[in-house]
């Protein structure tokens, strides 16, 4: 019987994606340290964790997973990469460990009846792209104004970058805009040709679906080819400090989705500073605490911890939860505004509540704008359009089940 709740932490602090991977990983670790220091664990259950460097590579990710999955008290995995998520999606059901892919992963895995072990909390690439189109439409003065317009998707040429395409095509049909697809070969340091093409086709808007260095490179190329930055919209993985910092003024006016809030004023961040950094136990540099991806890491870990707490409510307070029990907790999570405020997440996110059928739990996001020095939230919350999403998810998950010769979960299974 395990005595501690073990959080395996897959992360990458080296390689092309290190600038973005590092604050994220730091946030995840710091939150756990803080919970231990402040609360003495989850209802008295101490948290332990171990980090494993994946370098964003699928095979190393799988190795890390295999290494950490059989640790006593293992909780859940957040693979930090779509590629690793794909690989683990095959393995998790066998090992009975849930995967949390907050804001990434497989969009169809929102369907908990088909993907019992995947939890794309708070948003998927489909909700993200949907919201972005809504926002662009709004800026244009209404979605109907998009008719005849041209929107270019500059995307990371990987499953991550390709995911939004079906939804965008759907939206393009609906609103009559033209969708141009420009893939960028990973890791994305070479985009000259891409932006020459942008210049040639003169799209009205460009959507940036990048990660790691690809983002800052895109912004620099946009500047070099004179594409107006205020017509450039990024996904929430292209909207953090490392993406724009070294472009500085050159990225002014660039807008990106904000999946979560940030800054140091929220209570949870203050707690982290107090209980972790002031004791000299911070994982990273202090001035990075509260940055966009750092905060996202904190939120991810909070959701994990709360899922454990929720599971304990059912399976026994003060006990170490198994992967299966955590899965139930994740599936039955309900954090309303009040609870969020109490946890210190006021303004960082919206309430989330999951169910057997909906593993996402919330599909809200805002838009932020870079002013040359820092990010500012510049829009209200948007929610992805259920009407569009639902059928896509349904057909997608059906296809998945058919391919795998699996069957949908029975309603009764939801009780377990």
């Amino acid at each position: 019987q395990a005595k501690e709740q073990f959080f395996p932490l897959l992360s990458y602090r080296t390689g092309p994606y290190a600038p973005n991977g590092t604050p994220w990983a730091n946030g995840k670790q710091d939150y756990l340290k803080m919970v231990n220091a402040r609360d003495g664990g989850i209802n008295g259950v101490k948290i332990s964790f171990e980090e494993c460097e994946t370098g964003y590579a699928t095979d190393r990710g799988v190795e890390c997973y295999e290494r950490l999955k059989s640790r006593p008290g293992v909780t859940l995995f957040d693979p930090q990469a779509t590629g690793i998520t794909f690989a683990l999606t095959e393995k998790a059901p066998v090992d009975k460990i849930p995967l949390m892919t907050l804001g990434y992963g497989l969009s169809v895995s929102q369907d908990g009846m088909a993907f019992k072990w995947n939890f794309p909390y708070m948003g998927s690439y489909w909700t993200g792209s949907d919201i972005l189109i809504q926002h662009i439409g709004k800026n244009a003065g209404g979605l109907d104004k998009l008719k005849g317009k041209k929107i270019t998707l500059v995307y990371h040429d990987s499953p991550f970058g390709k995911e939004p395409i079906p939804l965008l095509q759907e939206r393009a049909k609906m609103h009559g805009f033209e969708l141009q697809l420009l893939p960028v070969t990973a890791p994305g340091v070479e985009q000259k040709a891409t932006w020459l093409q942008v210049r040639q086709s003169r799209p009205d808007y460009v959507m940036l679906w990048g990660w790691g260095v690809m983002n800052s490179t895109a912004l620099k190329e946009a500047q070099a080819t004179g594409f107006p930055r205020d017509k450039l919209y990024g996904v929430w993985w292209a909207g953090a400090e490392p993406d724009v910092r070294d472009v500085g003024e050159g990225a002014k006016g660039y807008q990106a989705l904000a999946l979560n809030g940030y800054g140091t004023q929220s209570k949870v961040i203050q707690d982290i500073l107090k209980h972790v950094y002031d004791k000299g136990q911070g994982t990273g540099a202090k001035d990075e605490v509260g940055s966009v991806l750092y905060t996202r890491g904190v939120i991810i870990q909070m959701l994990g911890v709360e899922a454990v707490r929720r599971a304990q409510e059912r399976f026994g307070k003060g006990k170490v939860m198994t992967g299966e029990q955590v899965r139930w907790g994740m599936e039955n999570l309900a954090l309303d505004q009040k609870k969020l405020d109490a946890l210190g997440f006021k303004d960082l996110m919206r309430p989330i509540s999951t169910s057997c059928a909906d593993h996402m739990g919330s599909s809200w996001a805002r838009v932020q704008t870079w002013d040359g020095k820092k990010w500012n939230i510049t829009s209200d919350w948007y929610q992805a359009d259920e009407q569009i999403l639902k059928p896509l998810v349904k057909t997608g998950s059906d296809k998945y089940l058919a391919d795998k010769k699996l069957t949908r979960r029975e309603a009764a299974d939801c009780q377990s």
Partner: protein, 309 residues
């Protein structure tokens, strides 16, 4: 038409930048017969050093004179590259005299990993900025002739000029000086070179140093364009087709190869890409190089590969 010109110019400029990295490969190969896999890592290392020192120097000295800071940073980074060259000679090359190409290649690979680790340990693995005052915004030429003008990047033009200058300098060095001749001798036969008193150790330090400085210049320019981050090592992969197209042993070949590859890949991506789904420039560059090789197996300007019984 204007767009074609733009693409062409863009390709030429990109080509010059590849050439700059390719130059590093050529130098070391030509002068010691080693295919230096670590060139990409050296570019990264140099750029990281440059970026961080230009950040730290003002802090240490308390000035905010950009020029001074950059100058000092350049000198310090240059010194770092010298140290790297010296250590590599001492710890690696010296012990591998007269070994086969594959072994040396592998050794440079070890060096690659080492430098990547070392660079990130010392300098961090975030994205850093090199601001050497390069103009970032585009200029538009011939606006009277073409609507919208022809877009040209001043930054690219400056970078291309620097690359061109370096190449001319190094070509002269190789063809005309005693040391240049000695370097070529070393590349042909380590042992024979030793036997007639060419000090391999010193030669290697010199060559790796020069390659280090070339890497520094390349790192500075690329870094100023793209930001300095681990992925900078991947520009080495873009430079490889340039190296073989121009010929592993030819300094001017690096430039010509660079221009051909640069233009070829940009034109193909822009004009061919859309029909096949895009993202073809990398393999197109390699296939282009391959096609040239079928006609000239030693590259356009490479020394003939000698096989004689």
């Amino acid at each position: 038409m204007a767009f074609f010109l733009e693409t062409l110019i863009g390709g030429l400029m990109a080509g010059m930048l590849y050439a700059l990295v390719a130059l590093g490969f050529v130098l070391i190969y030509k002068a010691s017969g080693v295919f230096n896999f670590a060139q990409g890592a050296m570019v990264l290392f140099a750029a990281l050093a440059m970026a961080r020192f230009s950040e730290w120097v003002p802090k240490w000295l308390g000035t905010d004179n950009l020029l001074l800071a950059n100058l000092l940073a350049f000198v310090i980074a240059g010194a770092c590259m010298f140290a790297v060259a010296w250590v590599i000679e001492r710890l690696v090359l010296r012990h591998l005299v007269n070994q086969e190409g594959a072994t040396l290649l592998m050794a440079t690979l070890g060096i690659t990993y080492f430098l990547e680790g070392l660079g990130q340990t010392f300098f961090g693995s975030d994205i850093y900025k090199i601001d050497i005052g390069m103009p970032k915004d585009p200029v538009f030429l011939f606006e009277s002739i073409f609507p919208g003008g022809v877009l040209v990047n001043k930054e690219d033009v400056i970078a291309a000029a620097i690359a061109g200058g370096l190449v001319i300098l190094l070509s002269v060095f190789f063809q005309k000086t005693t040391t240049g001749r000695a370097l070529r001798a070393v590349a042909d036969d380590h042992q024979a070179a030793q036997s007639i008193g060419i000090p391999l150790n010193r030669i290697w330090v010199i060559v790796w140093c020069v390659a280090g400085v070339v890497a520094l210049v390349a790192g500075m320019i690329w870094g100023s364009k793209l930001g300095v981050q681990f992925s900078l090592t991947t520009v080495a992969l873009r430079a490889l087709p340039v190296v073989i197209l121009g010929g592993l042993t030819s300094v001017p070949g690096a430039i010509i190869g660079g221009l051909i590859i640069g233009v070829g890949e940009k034109l193909s991506e822009v004009y061919l890409g859309p029909f096949v789904g895009g993202g073809i420039e990398i393999w197109f560059a390699y296939v282009l190089a391959l096609v040239f090789l079928l006609f000239r197996p030693q590259g356009l300007f490479g020394e003939k590969i000698i096989d004689r019984v």
